[in-house]
Amino acid sequence: MKKIINKPENLVDEMCSGFFAAHSDSICLDYENRIILRKNKNKEKVSLISGGGSGHEPSHSGFVGYGMLDAAVCGDVFASPSIMQIYNSIKQVENKNGVLLIVKNYSGDVMNFDGGAELAREEGIDVETVYVDDDVAVEGSLYTVGRRGVAGTIFVHKIAGALAEKGADLIAIKKIAEKTVKNVKTIGFALSSCTNPNSGNPIFNLEENQMEFGVGIHGEPGITREKAECSEEMASRLMAKINENIRLESGDEVAVLVNGLGGTPLQELYVFNNDVTKMLNKLNVKICKNFVGDYMTSLDMFGLSLSILKLDEELKDLLFSDAYTPALKMISTINY
């Protein structure tokens, strides 16, 4: 198995410890509950929690810090954290201003976060939840659980986190989070499966020159299996699918996230970013910012996802507000 790990059953604990070792200047670790917490708590603001199965690093631990999350809860690989983990995370960050949970829309995640929230509410804690479902790959008459939450979640962390930092109340933050969810669409593709650390096997198998279009971030197979095409062609296919759902018009302003799935070199993400940028320029859509890198991965999967977030003045302002986390740092206040 092509993995740099020790015993698979210790993987998440060791990862959390290794993360803590690297970022102990800005985060704390509740090892028992696998919760990454912001060190310099701002007690005067609504607290934001996200989390999910592990295997999506730097999500979500990497986004704990100023201007984004107050806590990230780590489940086993590809399994949502448990009800008690969520409950404990809420207990640890609540400060009378209320708590917002940012949950990727998967049955497992929803049940666990809802369960944890319920337990906290029984103790009088004000908890709200926003469900992220930005993946436009999944759809059709058959879907009964809604769309999946994928890389667009990072924008929700960023924007809701910025508003929280400004001191807004829970309802306002929930509202802006939901607006962000509404405005962001994502779709991805993979040229290889990821390797499950427990079994050591790929979750699906792709022939040379095949790609899985619309792949999920847990190795769930995508919409279709097709011949792999060049970056430009892939950019145009992903854009087309997103555009079906978000209708970009000349003059629109957007943020772009070219997200690597874990095994993709930065080099190729930049090549793809170039193709997407050219395409949006042609549509006369203004890109206010391109994020390029690994934000929401799927273990060692080779592939990428494209997210487009439609911006208005409010979202833009929050997107460009300062953030200082292990995986995303944006400082506008110093003029370097």
Binding site: D76, A79, S199, G219
Partner: protein
């Protein structure tokens, strides 16, 4: 065997735990086909903790024991399985309150309340391609046995096990309406649901492992 008590329940739960541990890889593999490949790991992690709890031997009230199983699932297991099985056990705990000896009717009632718990949180029903598609037919078979006056537990489970197997097999013809396999749409056709397979397996192996007298 017409009655069981908490000690029997503990034994049975240990057997279940072992069956799941032994089949962990297989269950994850099945989940990998139309899901995300973690079901075996998640569920066996939970049942290992349940076995640890039993081995501590610090609980002699069945309802409290069931509640602790529920909490264990909700603490140790995330994914879909933690809340589903956790809520199932919590419901069983409510059902068994005050009871000490369990006949076939009680046992079928326990399974029924487990199902209720699962439905409450998961909102799935027969035909949605989940483990309920194996568990509900098995439960119905046992409930039917009780209505027919059957009292032999092993014989009834044996019969139920056939229904569980048929139910699991039928999930192959279903398009998933709940759980991660829904994202596949029609592509979930032709593949068994991992949870349903697990239920069928449990019933089958328990039948083999329980003392067969009649």
């Amino acid at each position: 065997m017409e009655n069981i008590n908490i000690e029997d329940i503990k034994k049975i739960m240990c057997i279940i735990s072992d069956i799941i541990s032994e089949n962990e890889k297989k269950l994850s593999e099945l989940d990998g086909v139309i899901g995300d490949g973690d079901f075996g790991y998640t569920i066996s992690k939970g049942f290992k903790a349940i076995k640890d709890k039993i081995n501590k031997n610090d609980e002699d009230d069945t309802s409290k024991l069931m509640k602790s199983f529920g909490m264990i699932m909700m603490k140790n297991c995330g994914g879909a399985s933690g809340p589903l099985w956790g809520t199932g056990f919590i419901n069983v705990s409510d059902f068994t309150q005050g009871k000490e000896v369990f006949n076939l009717k009680d046992i079928s009632g326990m399974i029924g309340s487990f199902i209720q718990g699962v439905k409450k949180i998961g909102k799935a029903d027969l035909g949605d391609k989940t483990f309920l598609d194996a568990l509900i037919p098995a439960y119905n078979s046992m409930k039917n046995d009780v209505e027919q006056g059957e009292v032999n537990i092993v014989r009834s489970i044996n019969k139920a096990s056939k229904e569980a197997e048929i139910g699991a097999e039928k999930t192959k013809e279903m398009v998933a309406k709940k759980g991660r396999a829904t994202y596949l749409g029609d592509r979930s056709l032709g593949h068994v649901d991992a949870g349903a397979y697990a239920i069928a397996l449990l019933f089958k192996e328990i039948t083999d492992k329980l003392p067969s007298e009649n």
